[in-house]
């Protein structure tokens, strides 16, 4: 009795281990799902955000549909198809119509020419660069302000995707759009549902360069602030490098910091002004970061600021004309002083500088320029920019079209010289005199290599604030660079609250599979079935004889037949 029980338990144990082994084998085998796609490429998703409760951008990330090109037969149902649109063939009215009429679509994939790929340093000469740039800017504006209930992705053109697209166009021209029954190409992006970015942080970096305090002088030295916002916002956050807006501003600020740190390192040449360098975040969102940064100031420090210069987009080809935007009326004595100082230097450098005045409306939450945040706290400030008119919300914030190709480092170098000379003349009291402090060829000359290397780095780093963590390596490198040039560096971490909410999942890998249709498989099954049946009949006939084959189909003779 005990023996049988033991053996029974032993059998059960053996059985269980067998089952576990078998299940393990099945799991292992099921996991081996090799990806042998026709093509795989990096794609970048359209931004998804909520502004004051309204949803904008592409609301989905996962993709699993057939591909079609723009030559699809009219009237075809595209609710389960992805349209692949290269930028060169883009018809903006078509896309606008599609979006405005809320027509159902499986997804959109935009192919951008390599020239917009800052990461590769695309130096290829493309004709009609300007036209493409304007087209892309318009497309971006359309997409950012639309609510799209399907995934929208951007990718760069390469040979693989070009051949796939040519094939798709050929199929579409025949009049056979890809569906489940006719084969074609399938685009698959297996990402999970995008989630909200919880409490996005914005980090302000400030550097303090102390001026020369005379012995026995108890008064606070006046301060001059130089500010630039370093984050961007664009249609594809993984591609928003903002080379001009505001990469040029950051580079200029760093170079000015370097030059003045050289001057201030020697007590004999240290000026009687403190210099405050600010790299602020939250720029596209009504300069939220600048506001928080200013609010954190001590009242005395705020009062000691003589004036602030904000740098915004000084790197494009501005055709020798820069604008100084102010909110205080031009008749104001301080504004006049600043403008005269800049104009004098500009004349020598063969640059035109104009003054633009825009009144601020306290009740309107929209802050178009960074200096407006200073002005709201009664600090004299101005913004130096190549942009003539105040940009709208989420405009000129470093989008897809703002890539390395369209920024010029010589232009930035000239801008740096302009600002540095003007500041130095004010600090050292040489207004109106023709003195070249940062002359070319001297030890204090603007370093074009420094400008270029930082510009290249910035053009490779997407800087959308919600996706930059507190200890992001880029923020740390900016802090370190500023620490090299200033006496004291501080970081201020704040949360980006207010009207914006962002969602993650900004880039993915797209797999393109060439699939066969279901009808093909059904036909194959039919062919195989008939082949096996023929084989069976053939073998039965040759080995057992025809009678046996026929007997297989005849019913067994009834047993009830009784022989008489």
């Amino acid at each position: 009795m005990a023996f049988s029980k033991n053996s029974g338990a032993g059998h059960r144990g053996l059985q269980e281990s067998m089952y576990s082994v078998i299940s393990l084998v099945f799991i292992l085998v099921a996991c081996v799902e090799l990806c042998d796609a026709a093509a795989a490429l990096n794609v970048y998703r359209l931004i998804q955000y909520d502004m004051s409760g309204s949803a904008f951008g592409s609301r989905f990330a996962a993709l699993n549909h057939h591909a079609a090109s723009l030559h699809f037969p009219s009237g075809a149902d595209l609710s389960r198809t992805v349209l692949i649109i290269p930028l060169s063939e883009l018809n903006i009215t078509f896309v606008r119509e599609y979006i405005n009429q809320k027509k159902p679509l499986g997804g959109l994939l935009f192919l951008l020419p390599e020239v917009f790929n800052s990461g590769n340093g695309g130096n290829k000469q493309v004709h009609e660069k300007e036209k493409l740039k304007n087209l892309l800017a318009e497309l971006e504006r359309l997409l950012i302000h639309a609510n799209l209930p399907y995934p929208v992705y951007f990718a760069f053109e390469n040979d693989e995707i070009d051949t796939v697209l040519a094939d798709i166009k050929k199929n579409d021209a025949i009049g056979q759009p890809a569906t489940a029954t006719t084969g074609g190409y399938k685009l698959v992006i297996p990402t999970p549902e995008p989630k909200k970015v919880a409490s996005p942080t914005i980090t302000n970096i400030q550097g303090w360069l102390s001026g020369l305090k005379a012995d026995g002088d108890t008064n606070q030295l006046p301060t001059i602030a130089i500010v630039a916002s370093y984050d961007t916002f664009g249609a594809a956050p993984a591609l928003s490098v903002g080379s001009d807006s505001n990469g040029s501003g950051i580079v200029a600020l760093l170079e000015i910091a370097r030059l003045f740190s050289l001057l201030y390192s020697n007590p004999k040449t240290r000026g009687k002004y403190n210099l405050l360098f600010g790299l602020t975040s939250g720029g596209p969102y009504n300069y939220n970061g600048t506001q928080k940064w200013l609010r954190s100031f001590d009242q005395r420090l705020r009062e000691s600021i003589d004036y602030a210069i904000c740098l915004n987009s000084i790197g494009g080809s501005w055709d020798n004309e820069l604008w100084i935007h102010v909110s205080k009326p031009p008749e104001n004595a301080y504004i006049k002083q600043i403008f005269e100082g800049f104009s004098n230097v500009a004349e020598e450098l063969d640059i035109k500088v104009g003054l633009k005045h825009k009144k601020i409306n306290i009740s309107n939450p929209r802050v178009a320029w960074e200096h407006e945040q200073f002005s709201r706290l009664r600090v004299t400030a101005a913004t130096l920019s190549e942009i003539p008119v105040a940009p709208e919300l989420l405009e000129s914030t470093g989008g897809l079209f703002d890539s390395r190709q369209f920024v010029n480092e010589t232009v930035i170098t000239r801008g740096v010289k302009l600002v540095a000379e003007s500041l130095a003349r004010h600090i050292y009291g040489h207004q109106g005199k023709n003195v070249q402090i940062f002359a070319d060829g001297g030890s204090l000359a603007v370093n074009p290599a420094y400008v270029q290397s930082w510009l290249d780095l910035l053009s490779r780093t997407p800087r959308v604030a919600p996706f930059l963590s507190k200890n992001d390596p880029f923020v740390m490198s900016l802090k370190k660079e500023l620490a090299d040039h200033t006496d004291e560096v501080n970081l201020q971490h704040e949360t980006l609250e207010g009207m914006f909410t962002f969602y993650d999942s900004t880039s993915a890998i797209l797999n393109i599979y060439q699939v066969a249709s279901v009808t093909f498989d059904l036909l194959l099954l039919l062919a195989l079935g008939s082949y096996l049946i023929v084989l069976f009949c053939f073998l039965v006939i040759t080995t057992r004889g025809l009678d046996d084959l026929i007997s297989l189909f005849r019913r067994p003779p009834s047993r009830k037949v009784k022989t008489a």
Partner: protein
Amino acid sequence: MTMFHFFNCAILTFGPHAVYYSATPLSEYDTLGTSVKAAVVYLGTALVKLVCLATFLQVSENDGFDPYQELLKALIGFIDVAGLYFALTQLTHRNISQNHKFQAVGLGWAFADSVLHRLAPLWVGARGLEFTWDYILQGLEANANLVLSISLAALASLIWLRKNKPKTLIPIIYACAGIVATMPSITSYLRRGLGWYFPKVVGFELFTSLVMAFISWQLFSACQRPSA
């Protein structure tokens, strides 16, 4: 849809074996045990071949045709023949006629070959979304292999099991057996040396398998007649 494709290719690869077993008198005489034993012998032969290949063969960087290496591979391929000899002669079979013995052994041999060589690629590859013709061609190759295995088993049984053969036919039997045994080397030469594409190679295999089956069938029936 992709499991569908896998199912299609699976029945193309393994269906004919089942059909062959059920259609011919093999099923009536319950020769399953013989087939299973032959499959096990094939497994053992494959292991021995693997060890020999690993020991003696060098891995070449380019995918070209190296005559010396191919010769070595052909020699190791003769271990196959030795395995078949073992399966035919040394295993104890129940009382089944020689006619059915070679068919059962050939069937088991071919089935084991298909499972070992073609099941894993099929499971891993045919289930994916991407469509290629490879797995259908592989199935056709399995069919050709079945025919070749049965012909080889027939010729081998003629060589070793039948004692009274017409004298004139003996060299032909040996020649055909040699051709069928070296078929793997021939196909690899075609693929690497001449650079034929897979569909062409499969077509060639199907053609030669039918030809060899016909020849071995004629030889077998010629040997059935009592020698004058």
